[in-house]
Symmetry: C2
Subunit: 86 residues, 2 copies
Amino acid sequence: MSLLNYFRPKRTSAASHAKERLQIIVAQRRRGDERSDTLSAMEKDILEVIRKYYINIDSDAISVQLEQNEDDLSVLELNVTLPEDK
Amino acid sequence: MSLLNYFRPKRTSAASHAKERLQIIVAQRRRGDERSDTLSAMEKDILEVIRKYYINIDSDAISVQLEQNEDDLSVLELNVTLPEDK
């Protein structure tokens, strides 16, 4: 599977587009890191960066998904619904 | 333009798939942040996270692109060619 196939649109509902949101996708293709240890460890640091720049984000507003697929491809996806007030 | 349209495959050459690589895409949809100031500032922090987990990365191995499009959509894309030795 192509690394970039991951970045195809998955959701197209009007509601999901209307909200202010942040999406971070980290895709790693690397031999010998089958358990995606690196991305799993990076998750905490990336969340810290998000919270530095976007204050007042509820924990409920953050969803995180880590997938390990064939071909040494690991994908970490973070979706954040941003608060209305800046 | 849909936020997720950004994640469609752009490159499909065999050579680019063979290398060990890391790709980070940060997409933000937010009203009133037209100049993508937030993503521009986040770039430095994200690079620091990358360098924490992937040592010995040449500066030449990192490419960064920041795009600002219609609909308050900003996309920061970082592509890193990982060193062969872990």
